[in-house]
Amino acid sequence: MASLLAFLLFAGLAVVCALVALFHRSVVHSAFALLGTLLGVADLFLQLGADYLAMTQVLIYVGGILVLILFGLMLTPPDRRELRPARIFLGLAVTGAGALLFLTRMDSGAWKAAPLQELPDLANQASPTAEPIGLAFLERDSWLLAFEFASVILLAALVGAVFIARRRFRVDDEGA
């Protein structure tokens, strides 16, 4: 019962905030509304028993990506044009059709990884996932390569970001 209430609360938060993010006139407000959506999704992860994923969601998306989006907005000149209704309806139609297809065609038996029937209990059965995930990443016979290689891609992203965001140098800057 409590989990159902929590689900309704946070799922509702996610949906309402997503709608605000979509339809609010100010992009900054939209960005802040995303906060609620991302937190709501974090709760869904939590209720599915994926506690580490929920923490990741809060740390990366709520803490990081949202800031990135806000800074991105600061870099963009304001565009006060209205959204065209035709575009909104097209988007709604496409996503709606996709969701409908997903809900009707994907019977619960299709979920091999975690059958749908078990979902409501998952949060109560599951044990903390961070430790098994950590073991899987660092043990040599499972995901070690992915773990170590992730550092290389993060490094490349760092170098690329510093390069892209650097000021343009003129020739007279030489020797600085």
Binding site: R105, M106, D107, G109, A110, W111, K112, A113, A114, L138, E139, R140, D141, S142, W143, L144, L145, A146, F149, A150, V152, I153, L155, A156, A157, V159, G160, V162, F163, I164, R166, R168, F169, V171, D173, E174
Partner: protein, 484 residues
């Protein structure tokens, strides 16, 4: 429990360690001795080291084309899997990065008074590392990491000429569409995992027997891979990105990314079964036709070569169609694909490399009008470009011909003679625009020399001979080809 790494783990990790070590060494040296220009040397050392550590595996590709290629090596409990033939394609990726580096020595390295060098060389090492992981991936984790690791450096490198609008546009376009494609890829993986509970290529087989969920996932997975491979209808970015990116980077993209994505697709292709060969053959024909049709109207040689790359990727799908039509042909199809990739790779490297040298003589333009008659004025670069174009077209005596021959032979052997004939016709159609490049190069009324006089670039001129010689060598002496 953590046991020690096995020899096969080390075998496949060693090239990656060389490349990562090179990146680290460059960055550390740059931090403490920014004035010393060690980057290029270290990068070439790392590439050489990686090639040297990959060599034993490539050397094991001893069996002839008809037989079974050497056993694939599995490492990290099935995260990576590479056959000797794959290792040869891996060597091609390393070579592509090396050639891109050599071509940049006198041009890109000097942009904005050389401040880009660190970024350029580190990213030039990370990209082939990603390619190696991608082409050997046999797990969702390595497939995704590999594709991201090869794409991310290329997004940045495409935008290396920050003062040129085309270059920035290329980087941005590639990045946005690439991110979109990665989204498809991950979503597909998630659905496949949800539907089958597996993360290895076995998920594909299981998905075909499974429900709609897994099949949808399969669709998304292939959409992501076909984007990287630039198959119609996901090929629209290619012309713009290849044109806008600096030409050495274009060469790396054409040879390396394509090879890595193609082998990944082959690894993750469904085994012969319910999907049938029709879908792949249809995609291949559509890609070839669209690429040919578009290439005929292009004025820019880089765009023509980019669309030629699209056509070549499309032709590769015929190999997948053959795989579908004839169960049990896996080994020989894979050998044909490996050879095809190497043949296309060296041809593309020679073509874009020579084009880069000619472009510099024409003031940085690759328009047909700017390159008119340059083949006469610069016989070596022009000759290499002409040779590469002949190979791309598939004239007998070149590597490109044999590559196409092997693929179509697989198709005929699998019983799809009609499809093979259609493919050959589409290939013949492409001669039209290859011929156009030759005509432009050797036109009578040469374009007036434009722009400032180009820098004498001995390293590039020398390095360009390597792919050029390989084009001929693989074409007339296919013995090394049979090693694949």
């Amino acid at each position: 429990m953590p046991g020690p790494l096995t020899p096969s783990d080390w075998l496949l990790a060693a090239p990656l360690l060389w490349l990562a070590g090179g990146v680290v060494a460059i960055l550390v040296l740059d931090a403490f001795r920014p004035a010393a220009r060690h980057e290029a040397g270290l990068a070439f050392l790392a590439l050489l080291g990686a090639a040297w550590s990959l060599w034993p595996l490539a050397e094991a590709a001893g069996e002839p084309l008809e037989g079974i290629p050497g056993l694939p090596v599995r490492a990290f409990s099935g995260m990576l899997e590479a056959s000797p033939g794959n290792a040869v394609v891996g060597l091609l990726c390393l070579g592509a990065a090396a050639l891109a580096g050599i071509l940049s020595l006198r041009s890109l390295c000097r942009l904005e008074s050389g401040r880009h060098r660190t970024a350029l060389w580190t990213l030039l090492l990370v990209a082939p590392a990603g390619m190696l992981v991608t082409l050997a991936s046999s797990h969702f984790a390595t497939l995704f990491l590999g594709i991201e690791t090869l794409s991310l450096p290329l997004y940045v490198l495409s935008a290396l000429r920050r003062t040129e609008e085309g270059s920035v546009e290329a980087g941005l376009k590639y990045f946005l569409l690439g991110a979109f494609a990665s989204g498809f890829l991950v979503f597909g993986m998630a659905l496949l995992y949800a539907g089958t509970g597996r993360m290895d290529p076995g998920a594909v087989t299981a998905a075909l027997e499974g429900g709609a969920l897994a099949r949808a996932g399969l669709g998304f997975l292939y959409a992501g891979l076909l984007f990287k491979l630039a198959i119609a209808p996901f090929h629209l970015w290619v012309a713009d990105v290849y044109q806008g990116a600096p030409t050495p980077i274009t060469a790396l993209m054409a040879a390396g990314t394509k090879a890595a994505a193609a082998l990944a697709l082959l690894h993750w292709a469904p085994p012969a079964g319910p999907l049938g060969s029709g879908a792949w053959a249809l995609l291949a024909c559509a890609t070839l036709a669209l690429a040919n049709l578009t290439a005929l109207n292009q004025e820019n040689l880089k765009r023509i070569l980019a669309l030629s790359g699209v056509a070549h990727a499309g032709l590769l799908l015929f190999a997948l169609a053959a795989l579908q039509a004839a169960p049990g042909s896996g080994a020989s199809v894979e050998a044909a694909v490996n050879f095809y990739l190497v043949a296309y790779g060296v041809s593309a490297l020679a073509a874009f490399g020579a084009l880069e040298l000619l472009e510099r003589r024409a003031g940085g333009h690759a328009e047909a009008s700017a390159l008119r008659g340059l083949g006469r004025r610069f016989p070596v670069a022009g000759g290499i470009l002409a040779l590469a174009v002949l190979s791309l077209a598939g004239i007998p005596g070149t590597a490109g011909f044999l590559g196409k021959y092997f693929v179509f032979a697989e198709l005929v052997r699998s019983g799809e003679v009609g499809v093979a004939l259609l493919g050959i016709l589409l290939t013949l159609w492409s001669f039209a625009y290859y011929l156009r490049i030759l005509v432009v190069l050797y036109m009578k009324d040469a374009a007036p020399a434009g722009g400032p006089p180009a820098v004498q670039d001995t390293p590039a001129a020398v390095a360009l001979w390597v792919p050029a010689v390989l084009v001929v060598l693989l074409g007339v002496w296919p013995a090394p080809a049979h090693l694949l």
